[in-house]
Symmetry: C2
């Protein structure tokens, strides 16, 4: 069964997009088919996977607003086994447009129900994981993602402001569990941009592990300039430079996620 994972954190710039792209790539590299669904109006995951803006015909805007199908919108990336459903700037208007529509929080979930049926019937590829790249807010787009998802993966930058935002994120998580998606769980908390040269990273990491214990991945993603260079070439860091510390960390993370899922 495909697992739908919302990659979410309302704090900006913590590594949501980078994680969706590179974790998807690392899993695809070991034969686990993945789909990245970009619901951020910025469209960074689409660009980081090489999808030019001009080629984005059917997007997550159509899925949310016009009951479009993921299958129609899906585009193959340069990574075998990794596909992407691109986003578009018009998504920024979704909050206002959906506000008084019936079941506005269930739009994405409806589309995933259709995708699951298509995977089971063989009409769609046998995706094992879907990563939904969320925008930096707790608005209708992120609530749609959490309503549709099985779990939430929380990238957490090892900085003070990012730590501060965790309690608001968990409030929204609990809100969604008590309303639109009682089965929602935490997939894991991923420490990102860890810089061993500064104490702040270590303090934040210790703080997070004391609050979230086992839910925090052993794998920590180091701050690594190669990671931020790769998107300008429209490719994941694993394709850009597999030997870099960033690539190796995402490969290790994929292994840890599969192990936790009982696969090896």
């Amino acid at each position: 069964r495909v697992k739908i994972v919302a990659v979410a954190n309302q704090k900006g710039g913590v590594g949501k997009t980078t994680t969706a792209i590179n974790l998807g790539t690392a899993l695809a590299a070991v034969g686990t088919n993945c789909l990245v669904v970009d619901i951020d109006p910025q469209g960074n995951a689409s660009t980081g996977l090489g999808v030019e803006r001009s080629t984005r015909k059917v997007t997550t805007y159509d899925v949310l607003m016009n009951e479009g199908d993921f299958l129609e919108a899906m585009i193959e990336t340069k990574v075998p086994g990794l596909d992407v459903v691109p986003s578009v700037g018009e998504l920024a208007g979704a909050e206002a447009e959906l506000l008084h529509q019936e079941g506005r929080n269930y739009r994405l979930r409806g589309a995933f129900d259709r995708l699951r049926a298509q995977i089971e019937s063989g009409a769609a590829k046998p995706y094992k994981y879907v990563f939904i790249d969320c925008p930096p807010s707790l608005n209708v787009l992120t609530v749609n993602a959490m309503t549709a998802a099985d779990t939430v993966l929380v990238p957490l930058q090892c900085e003070f402001f990012a730590l501060e935002g965790l309690s608001q994120l968990m409030e929204t998580f609990q809100l969604v569990r008590s309303s639109t998606n009682p089965k929602l769980k935490i997939e894991g908390v991923l420490l990102t941009m860890y810089d061993k040269r500064n104490n702040l990273s270590e303090q934040v990491a210790d703080d997070v592990r004391s609050h979230f214990g086992e839910q925090v991945y052993d794998t920590v993603i180091p701050r690594n300039v190669t990671v931020s260079e790769a998107p300008s070439f429209g490719m994941p860091v694993l394709l850009y430079d597999i030997k870099s510390a960033g690539s190796q960390a995402y490969i290790k993370l994929a292994g840890e996620i599969l192990k936790r899922a009982g696969v090896q």
Copy 2:
């Protein structure tokens, strides 16, 4: 006359809050009274200026939703000459709550009209600059800020994804100019987290200067760990470590802004 500056960029984690806090501090340090208005539901500017969440009684939520006064909500910070109007998590609901209200985009502007009158009558301090710290989105909060502001200051992280977001930001800027605020101008574009050890920073800087020319500040803010440590002590980096590269850059920026404004 007080100048109202919206510090905005929908890309997350580019240094909006850090710039509002530290530029406000650097200007206050040379005797230019400043006010920071925090309209981000995350409330990082409020925390970074030492305002505990429990002491935030009147906030920007009241100003937006209940025609509250900045004067009531204003709190003095540890920095002489720098005050802050704190935000609160409830602001996250503002989009939905304001959507069908008359003049929803002019709420903040109305409050600033009252503040200007209070400054002129002597009821409020003689603020020269107000910096509005915006959330990482182009929603009703950021549109309110751009509608109320005289200018927009755009912090731009020297990374590829941040560069990609610039065109969407400029679209919103033009949209606001053609609808709710025809006089809106660009205050400047500030390059942040510049890392001279990596080519990406230089490439982004060159690209931005070729598009925005004179509007890009000569002053560039370097990536400097002291900057990210200061908020955990509830103080601007200028108070935490005045000799750090980050503090010196914000002091230089304050000088450049005053020079451009014809003050010196």
